[in-house]
């Protein structure tokens, strides 16, 4: 694997199945961590690397939903794949509503398992990418001077340079220079691109605040 190793946390109280699943995942190229209960899993400190959870839900104690709440509260949200011995439609619906990434029936075939784990990995990766892009955009926004930021907001609202100069009490030429600086700092080639960036930053649209 080129990317950092993806970790699968296997939580099952049956040692035989826990070991077998762990072996299979390890042989398939994942980092594996085995836990006998959700409580035991939460008690451990978790590294920053990408990970998902394979949870046997036929266990007494914490439910899958509770586990996810805990993870979110601790700042480590991760997808949970549910594993059950007796599933039906109602149960799978319930599981997905409870935040399940996927819902697998025991005995689970390798391909189905790896499929689910891969989907979880992709989702983690996508979430990671989004998080990176948003941070970049925020950085560009922060590089604007307060005056440029005002100009940015007014530009994406569709005002002409003349109107902006009037509102800010500036000359049209000054506004024009500030607008070019905004376009450059926000790395937008066209006005449409700038508008899209503003939307992603939440500067326009319903509930937008200045």
């Amino acid at each position: 694997m080129s990317t950092p190793l993806f970790t699968v946390h296997v939580i099952d109280d049956d040692p035989a199945l826990r070991t077998a699943l762990g072996r299979l995942l390890a042989a398939s190229g994942y980092a594996v961590s085995l836990h006998e209960s959700a409580t035991a899993f939460l008690a451990l400190a978790h590294g920053p690397g990408p990970a998902c959870i394979l949870l046997d839900v036929d266990m007494p104690g914490m439910s899958g939903l509770q586990l996810q709440e805990h993870l979110a509260r601790d700042g480590h949200p991760m997808p949970v794949i549910f594993l059950t011995g007796h599933g039906d439609v109602a149960m799978s619906v319930r599981a997905v509503k409870a935040g399940a990434e996927d819902f697998l029936l025991k005995p689970v075939a390798r391909l189905a398992l790896l499929d689910a784990v891969e989907r979880a990995r992709a989702r983690v990766a996508a979430q990671e990418g989004e998080r990176t892009a948003a941070a970049l955009l925020q950085g560009r926004l922060a590089s604007l001077t307060p005056r440029e930021r005002e100009v940015f907001v007014l530009v994406v609202q569709g005002l002409l340079n003349k109107q902006i100069a009037y509102q800010l009490g500036n000359t049209e030429r000054t506004v024009k220079a500030q607008r070019a600086s905004v376009m450059e700092k926000m790395q937008a080639a066209t006005l449409a691109e700038l508008v899209m960036l503003a939307a992603r930053l939440g500067l326009i649209g319903p509930g937008a605040t200045l």
Partner: protein, 613 residues
């Protein structure tokens, strides 16, 4: 005349020293002299004399002094001896006042008359042979009883008793040596029309015995009296008769009443007691002044008397006996003697037997009922197990799924690893071992499930209660997981052995745990806790308890939870706990339901503890 007191004193003194009175007794007391031809110790004479004395004393009112003399004439009977005896008695009794002289036997009578003693004193004779007295002149002062023995009457009696009798065998002294029974050729001849005779009298006794042992049929023995057999040997008559009767092959008749009981059948007998008593009664009359001539001479009695024991020996029916016969030595059969006791005993035994039979039948019916009830319980328990099984079949499926899932994952891992250029053999080996273990786990579960669902034959064996709990929990653990309840155990440290049907006891534990699972269902998942515990008590029993954190029993229900059809569950039949209680009771145990102090229900049952196998 002496004063009476002195007389009595003298008598008392005499009696005390037991010496015959040398001087005349007081005039008031009468005296009788008894003179016997033969020794007074002979049975016939002795019995006659005894009866005479007894009757005399009782009939006379006043005491009578009785002198007794034995002449023993058959031994000391020569004329010289008789003369000497006469002189001696003359001097002996000269001064003795005698009121009556009694002579026993014709020889003594002749001796007394011939000697001319005491001419004024009446003489009474007894047991004097009629034939020997024939032609003897009797003075007027003499009277008495003759003894007349008749051959014909015994022959006729023999034919009456045994109608096919043709022959009479005569045993005893030779005719000329038996003064009472002068049965000589003419007498025998006279009876030739009625019987023929085998005359063994006077023959050597050994010969006689040999003969009587092999007498021809239809013969009856007439045993007269045997004192000597002509060979010089002297016999005691009764002893000889006893021996003859013992060896004889035919019945023996007698004529002497004193010999009854010595083995002879009996006969028309002269009874010495009868003779003696009769003599005494008539002597009393003489003592009271009756003239001897006023008392006619009597003949002896011939009384039909028989020995019951000999009748049995010869199978002689009582109906054949002459009228008025007297049976002696009668031994009533146990039935006749103890009829009431026997009847009672038989009745009691019969009653006891009936009772025993009734009890046995009752016992068998009871055993059958017990067996039937056990069978019913087993069937019911089986139904209950099936119902229980359907309740947790999902859990069983899960339980089975675990090893199957593990096997699948392990197998696929192995495939992956084998694709590698250098497959890690150690890990592959581990994987295969795990597959084998999980497969065993799955098949064990199936075997147990089958045992649990199989109709039980209710057979008992020794089992460790801890092991039974562990096995039961493997069935129910899956269900507990599904229901999110924590199921834990607290076992006795050492194995505790009980003699039980393992399947039924597992069922009890499963029923109780399922009950607890139902009880904790409404609680928050973390609060659903069930503990199964075992403990040995007093080395006598083992207690298993199932306690939970549920709401407990309603106090009004706690007495009824083991009743059939009592339930608090919407879908419950109310049979689980009652079957559970029945199974425990069937194993000689007890079961209790209670609420714990800290909340929650606890059901505990105990079973008798057995020795380790």
């Amino acid at each position: 005349m002496l004063p009476r007191s002195i007389c009595f004193a003298a008598c008392g003194l005499l009696l005390m020293v037991t010496v015959p009175a040398p001087a005349a007794p007081a005039a008031a007391q009468q005296s009788v002299l008894v003179v016997s031809s033969d020794n007074l110790s002979y049975p016939f004479i002795g019995q006659l004399f005894g009866a005479f004395k007894t009757t005399l004393q009782s009939d006379n009112g006043a005491p009578v002094h009785v002198y007794a003399e034995s002449l023993d004439l058959s031994t000391f009977g020569t004329p010289a001896q008789q003369a000497a005896a006469a002189r001696w008695y003359d001097s002996k009794y000269r001064e003795v006042p005698l009121d009556v002289v009694v002579v026993i036997g014709h020889a003594a009578l002749r001796f007394w008359i011939d000697a001319g003693f005491r001419p004024g004193v009446p003489v009474y004779f007894a047991a004097a042979s009629a034939s020997a007295m024939a032609g003897m002149p009797l003075p007027p002062r003499v009277t008495g009883q003759r003894l007349h023995i008749n051959l014909a009457q015994t022959v006729r009696l023999a034919r009456q008793l045994f109608p096919d009798t043709t022959t009479i065998a005569l045993v005893g002294n030779a005719a000329e040596r038996d003064s009472y029974r002068p049965f000589k050729a003419p007498e025998l001849q006279a009876l030739a029309g009625e019987a023929s005779f085998i005359d063994l009298r006077g023959k050597a006794y050994e010969q006689v015995l040999a003969r009587v042992a092999h007498l021809p049929p239809h013969t009856v023995i007439y045993h007269t009296t045997l004192t000597d057999d002509g060979s010089g040997r002297v016999f005691e008559p009764r002893t000889a008769l006893t021996e003859t009767a013992r060896v004889a092959n035919r019945p023996t008749l007698i004529d002497n009443g004193s010999q009854l009981g010595s083995g002879a059948l009996g006969g028309l007998v002269t009874d010495p007691v009868h003779e003696g008593s009769e003599a005494a009664r008539r002597v009393v009359q003489l003592l009271r002044g009756a003239a001897p001539a006023s008392l006619p001479t009597l003949d002896n009695s011939n009384l039909p008397r028989f020995d019951w024991r000999a009748m049995q020996r010869w199978q002689l029916a009582e109906s054949r006996l002459p009228r008025g016969s007297e049976l002696q030595f009668y031994q009533p059969s146990a039935w006749q003697q103890y009829r009431l006791q026997i009847l009672l005993t038989v009745a009691v035994l019969a009653l006891l037997s009936l009772l025993t039979v009734a009890l046995l039948i009752e016992r068998r019916r009871r055993a059958a009922a017990v067996a039937q009830s056990r069978q019913r319980l087993a069937e019911l328990a089986h139904m209950n197990r099936n119902a229980t099984a359907s309740v947790f079949s999902a859990a069983i499926a899960h339980e089975l799924n675990q090893p199957l899932a593990a096997i699948l994952s392990n197998a696929e891992t192995a495939e992956l690893l084998l694709e590698q250029p250098m497959p890690p053999l150690t890990e592959l080996r581990e994987i295969l071992a795990d597959i084998r273990r999980d497969d065993a786990r799955a098949s064990e579960l199936i075997v147990r499930m089958r045992t649990l669902l199989k109709p039980s034959a209710a057979d008992s064996r020794l089992a460790d209660i801890n092991e039974l709990i562990r096995q039961s929990l493997t069935f129910i653990a899956g269900e507990a997981r599904l229901r999110g309840a924590a199921l834990s155990t607290s076992m006795a440290p050492a194995p505790a052995w009980v003699l039980v049907d393992p399947v039924q006891i597992q069922q009890v534990i499963i029923n109780l745990v399922i009950n607890s699972l139902d009880a904790v269902a409404a609680l928050a998942p973390a609060a659903r806790r069930i503990v199964v515990a075992s403990a040995v008590q007093d080395d006598a029993q083992v207690e298993v308890s199932v306690r939970d954190t549920g709401p407990g029993f309603a106090s009004a229900d706690i007495e009824r939870v083991f009743d059939s059809f009592f339930t608090t569950k919407p879908q419950g039949m109310g049979l689980g706990l009652s079957i559970t209680a029945a199974i425990v009771a069937g194993h000689g145990g007890t079961i209790h339901a209670e609420n714990q102090r800290g909340g929650g229900a606890r059901v505990r049952f105990s079973l008798p503890l057995r020795k380790a196998p």
